[in-house]
Symmetry: D2
């Protein structure tokens, strides 16, 4: 049974494990102020091409979202997010648990446009309603799409013109940035958003997301918030060693490129046989719509998520690839699929 | 520069790292439902000697405290804690951030007695004040002391008689249970408290605390709370593999025993030279009171925390040992100390 | 300029003011335990026909919603509400500020059906999402419609079958219960929901909502929650005296009947001239859709809310009547409308 | 049975009731934007002697505390309060329920000095602890003492030098400002604190506290916070009419002066007979320490609070006077006391 269920089915990339082993007995101070964390932050800043950003390494994505958003907002301020946004759908109300409403817009292919945000602004007119203040987007999105430079620039300009913060959930940023359709760099993103994070968990690390705070006014006292939410690891080095390895050379991008290539191979095959897709995905998640009996047969050999019923006979599934996806497994899947189609 | 600063200066015990390497490429499902987490939970239950407890593996201690306490309490209910309790002093208001007041009592050597709790109850008389509902204790405490069976039994009986929950922070439970003065077993604790946790971070793991919920009424929906607070790791296996290794045989206890032995050796030497101590510690933290100039000289070779000024010429420092503390470093420290005294 | 802007434009009904004057210098104990509050609670219980409900008098509606909902739910539990629900739209995120997500369903004419609730349940499958636990409805709704007995019974049965609490916002319950289309009694409601409130502010009182808790399991310690949210008035008598007056005889219902009659008169006239309506309202709020220039002319003499643009030339306005609405003002409005139409 | 239990035993001053009756049927807009609220705000600003402060009328004291404090602080910031402070003792954890820790200092006679605040600052050294940010004081305090100009100036200077906000709970500010020992004006206070409130509930109003925000940076969006916490009354006029009456001429001060005079008369008599006091109170609350059997006899004719046991035979009681306290009742109490002593 091979799993295409998600991009966190395996442990960490061997180079990362090796670095963990090699540094294991070195004594460091705790709570993310060790030399590994500092070096990782420097390496990330270098890739971004800016020294004036703050980097914080945080164990997980939901945690990063809830810490950043609750640190950035005053009590009456709200988040605008796409209906498919992770904060809205799959975080057990983590944002609301910190006191903030999420205003949702349907969006397009998991993405928000200035028009969506404008509508949310128009609806919220006075102190009887929350005040929209932060726009949450994911790149890649939860349905596999990515923002191109022109889309992100438009959103960024709109947000700055309307005193809105722009926050990018980058749990799958590696996949977005190495997509064949991508025209954004880390530096571009840092210039266009107020804060974003670079996802490690879904791109080769055991755990860890690197939050990048670009907006000067959001930086103050940020470590207090990490600690208060229980995310300041005593052995912060665990995050530092991993991100140092991912960004020492190009490992982070190489791993994502592999995941994308594996997904593209599967998607090409699906297109070839005429299987409909939710959208033509440029990243490491693809969403084919298949007959239920075919899904049943595939499920005997492969593990994946059934996302939703489309009609009486068809459902949409999710296939996810990762840095660890083996090409021969992809090839076998394609063979099996073609036989069963 | 050798560090006695804390018990999280190094990475993980080599056996744990080895297990991480060996299991690394096995595909598992996410979020703590993988076979490693399940096996770890079974092993822990076996050590406790009970099957009717729930085990949840959570990355860190502050996180475990805030998740458990906020899950267990209704909005108007409060925690009773010793003035030195970790939740009161060193969690950046994490408990209050979930909405709950902490009522503090001075206690004795970091511990609470039924009399302390009774006083807190007596003071809170009606709906104009919070309702005390959960008694928080640490074992070992933040000042190195431990609860013996008779103390814990007295507290447990009092809590049950007064409809109070008893919660034990076990960040250093390994050290407590392997102390020469200990007469409690894991099974005893599970029978006396409503919930407690077994600290991995400070006893050989990279990260991880194993929360044990003993009280049936506190179990329902607990995973929702872990997820909402951002503590449900996608690669939950990271916790499972570590705790499986710690509890497969007796590694957890062996590591703690070593830490205690190293601390005892240092404490014996301190007593021998007549250095005053905050208390005669039975665990892996010791708190000698020393002349400031001696402290300054020791600090040239050793790293440790200066806890507080005692008078114009003396301060209290904290020396902490761990599973990784090298005996020769302890011996050298003792030699140096004797020379400088 | 006569105002049809809302049902809280004037002070309190003269009988209430008179009672306030008469009882003014009597000394009472504070915080809602005075004899007026106790008598008011008894009178309300008598009207409901049950002694086994708890009555709490709370200053305002948003406050009642947030206190009750946050007291009833555990941290991971969520509210299901119609998209037009007051808690969703007009409370500045008050519910989220207590930590709980609101799941919205479009509903029908401001009302929820079991099908809506079932859909919300179906979508929330596991601990990665909030757990739907409380169904929030308003009667009368924010768009003027009311629940009939069969609708409320269906919803109540569904909720009980699915372990959901049913909570009714009764800010305009007087108008609903005295509507010509109503077939529910206070007793019926108490039998069908877990908690509801009887709105005083919008039906003749200066301030005050009477929360009725019917479900035994929700009663414990409720006054703690009122106090914690700042709603336990030192001079609780202010609420007691008012509700005693409203429920001593039938004043509460008489006032609501008058408001409904005035609204019906306006609505009949609107129908007569062929003015379209959002819905044929059975209560004291009506929502005609009118040409913008007509609205502009009416606005020279009458005050009312413009709710939203319908198309380039038309908008929907809201006309609200109350216990204090003068019939001659309604007549003049109708005359003016007919002239301008 | 005459009550000296508190200063909210009666309704509102007759002039206030009269104003409520006279303005009752005037139509106004809702939510505190009516002409009465605006006029009240102007009158208060005039008494303060400044136009650059924001005035918000809020129903109750606990509510004002929790709204202001949660609006002013970021999530990791904490309050410093005296151990006897209302927010610490008698608000059912209202401040913690908004997420903020209260750091307590014993203080002196219910008051804080710069030394107390400095100690709290010294203890909180880094991001593992909350960040002290707002100093909460009450004037008059909960034990009847008041701040003089030099004390308040010292505290204010310290706070400004240390980036701390200074907030004054003025539930009994009338009594403080009209005390024979007072040398502060409303204008002085506005110049020394960042925000304070003028208590109406305990000085002649039915409900209502007038929050005065002096610090420009705390003003933005404040009405959102009032609404979110459920304190924006639909019939905001209820507060406006009352405060307009209290501050139209000098009613607010006259009422407080009467309360103080009545308390002073009782206190003088207590001193005369040699009854010990908690402190010589300059305000409307006095705290005599009496033999238990005497207390028992007094309690047959008078209602008051027994605050705490002092020793086996003595307890401390609290006697409170108000605008409504009748002088002949005070005289009778003194007579009875002298007979029983």
């Amino acid at each position: 049974m091979y799993s295409f269920r998600n991009d966190y089915s395996e442990g960490a990339h061997p180079d990362i494990l090796k670095a963990m082993v090699e540094t294991n007995l070195e004594q460091t101070i705790g709570y993310g102020e060790d030399r590994f964390c500092l070096e990782a932050a420097e390496l990330i800043k270098k890739k971004i091409g800016r020294n004036d950003v703050d980097i914080h390494l945080i164990p997980g994505g939901t945690q990063t979202n809830l810490i950043a958003i609750s640190a950035f907002l005053r009590p009456h301020e709200a988040v605008i997010a796409p209906l498919t946004g992770h904060v809205e759908v799959h975080e057990t109300g983590a944002i609301e648990a910190t006191g903030h409403k999420i205003i949702t817009k349907v969006g397009t292919e998991g993405k928000l446009t200035p028009i969506d945000v404008q509508e949310a602004m128009d609806f919220h007119t006075d102190e009887h309603m929350v005040k929209p203040r932060l726009v949450y987007i994911s790149n890649a999105t939860e349905v596999g799409s990515i923002y191109n430079k022109s889309e992100l620039t438009a959103l960024s300009t709109f947000c700055r013109d309307h005193n809105l913060l722009l926050f990018m959930d980058g749990a799958r940023l590696g996949s977005a940035l190495t997509s064949s359709q991508n025209d954004l760099t880390l530096g571009d993103i840092a210039g266009l958003v107020d804060a974003f994070y670079i996802g490690g968990t879904k791109n080769g690390a055991f755990i860890g997301e690197a939050l990048v705070i670009c907006n000067e006014s959001l930086k103050e006292d940020f470590r207090f918030h990490i600690k208060q939410k229980g995310a300041l690891l005593a052995k912060g080095r665990l995050l530092g060693v991993q991100f140092r390895e991912l960004f020492r050379d190009d490992l982070f991008f190489e791993l994502a490129r592999h995941a994308n290539a594996m997904a593209a191979k599967m998607q090409d095959a699906l297109c070839e046989i005429g299987c409909p897709l939710l959208l033509h995905s440029p990243s490491n998640q693809i969403f084919p719509i298949m007959p239920n009996d075919l899904i049943g047969k595939l499920a005997e050999t492969y593990s994946f998520e059934i996302q939703k019923r489309v009609d009486a006979d068809h459902s949409m599934i999710r296939l996810v690839t990762s840095w660890a996806t083996k090409e021969h497994a992809v090839d076998e899947f394609i063979d099996d699929l073609k036989k069963l189609w």
